[in-house]
C-alpha cells in the first residue's frame, strides 16, 4: 500500500467504520510501521482534545435574555 491508500484507510480506521478485511491489512501495516501508529494515536488525541474541550460560558446578560424570550414564547404557544 502506498501513502495515499493508507491515508484513505486512516479515517475509517480511527472511526471504527472500516471494512474488516481492510482493517486487517491496515493493522498489519501499523504493527510494522511506528510512524503510522503514532499518527493514528495523534489523531485520536486531537479529536479527544476538541470533543472534551472546555465549554464556553453564556454571557450573563444573554442567559437572562434567552430565558426571558423562551418563557414568553412558551406561554404564548400554550395559550
Amino acid at each position: 500500500m502506498n501513502c495515499d491508500e493508507l491515508l484513505a484507510m486512516l479515517n475509517e480506521y480511527v472511526d471504527g467504520s472500516i471494512d474488516p478485511g481492510v482493517c486487517e491489512t491496515f493493522e498489519k501495516h501499523l504493527a510494522g510501521c511506528n510512524p503510522c501508529q503514532v499518527v493514528v494515536d495523534n489523531i485520536r488525541q486531537t479529536i479527544t482534545l476538541y470533543k472534551d474541550g472546555q465549554p464556553y460560558e453564556l454571557p450573563t446578560a444573554f442567559h437572562r435574555k434567552l430565558h426571558d424570550a423562551l418563557r414568553q414564547r412558551f406561554t404564548q404557544l400554550r395559550r
Binding site: V38, V39, N42, I47, Y50, P59, L66, A69
Partner: protein, 210 residues
C-alpha cells in the same frame, strides 16, 4: 418538581404537556453545549447568541413534533447545526440553501498532504486540558482550517453527527465529507503535534511507503 435524576425524555413529556419549569430545566441542561457548538461553528460571540436563541426557539416551536426516535440531545444538536449554518450562509450573502458554489467538486484522497511532524505527545488530552494555554492553542489551530474543513470536523468529530447527517447538513456528497474530514484531522494533528509533541522522539529521516 424536577431533580437531577429526571431524564430528558420525562422533561420533554412534561414540557409537551405544558410544564414550563420542565422546559426551562431542559434549556438549562443544554444551553452551554448549544452555545459552545454555536461559538465554534460561527466563530463569533454575537452570532453564537443568535444561533443559541434561534435553536431553542425552534426546538420549542417543534416540541410537539418530537417523538423520541432520536435522543433530545441529538435532536437539539441537529437544530442548532442548521441554525448555525444558516447564519454562516447569511453572513456570506449566499443563497440560504447552499454553502457550496454551484458545482461541488469531487474531492479525492490523492492530493492530501502527508504527515510531516510525527512524534508522541508529551501529555495526554486530559492533562493538556488542565493547562491554561491549551484552549488558546486548540482554538487557533481550529481557526486556521479552511471553513469547509472546519465545519466537517466540528460536525463529525465534535458534535458526533454521522457521515450521512453531515453530508445532508452541508449538502455535500458523503465522499467529500470523508475527504474533508481527513484533511481537517491531519492539519490539526500536524499543528497540535508541533505544539504538544515530544521533540526528542520525533520520527526523522524519510518515511515513505512504497
Amino acid at each position: 418538581m424536577t431533580t437531577i435524576s429526571t431524564t430528558d425524555a420525562e422533561l420533554v413529556r412534561r414540557a409537551q404537556a405544558g410544564d414550563l419549569a420542565a422546559f426551562e430545566e431542559l434549556v438549562s441542561r443544554y444551553e452551554q453545549r448549544v452555545y459552545t457548538q454555536a461559538r465554534r461553528i460561527t466563530g463569533q460571540e454575537q452570532d453564537a447568541e443568535d444561533v443559541t436563541q434561534q435553536a431553542f426557539l425552534s426546538a420549542l416551536e417543534h416540541l410537539a413534533d418530537f417523538r423520541g426516535e432520536a435522543s433530545f440531545a441529538t435532536w437539539l444538536t441537529r437544530i442548532a447545526t442548521h441554525a448555525a449554518l444558516k447564519i454562516i450562509r447569511k453572513r456570506q450573502g449566499l443563497p440560504t440553501m447552499s454553502l457550496e458554489a454551484a458545482t461541488e467538486e469531487q474531492e479525492t484522497y490523492g492530493s492530501i498532504p502527508h504527515p510531516e511532524y510525527i512524534t508522541d505527545w508529551r501529555e495526554g488530552p486530559a492533562e493538556l486540558a488542565t493547562h491554561s494555554e491549551t484552549q488558546q492553542l486548540i482554538d487557533t489551530a481550529l481557526a486556521q482550517l479552511d471553513e469547509k474543513h472546519r465545519l466537517v470536523f466540528l460536525l463529525r468529530d465534535v458534535e458526533g453527527l454521522s457521515v450521512k447527517e453531515t453530508a445532508e447538513a452541508l449538502q455535500l456528497s458523503e465522499t467529500n465529507v470523508k475527504v474533508r474530514l481527513l484533511r481537517a484531522r491531519l492539519q490539526l494533528r500536524e499543528q497540535l503535534t508541533r505544539a504538544f509533541g515530544d521533540e526528542r522522539r520525533r520520527v526523522t529521516g524519510g518515511h515513505a511507503h512504497e
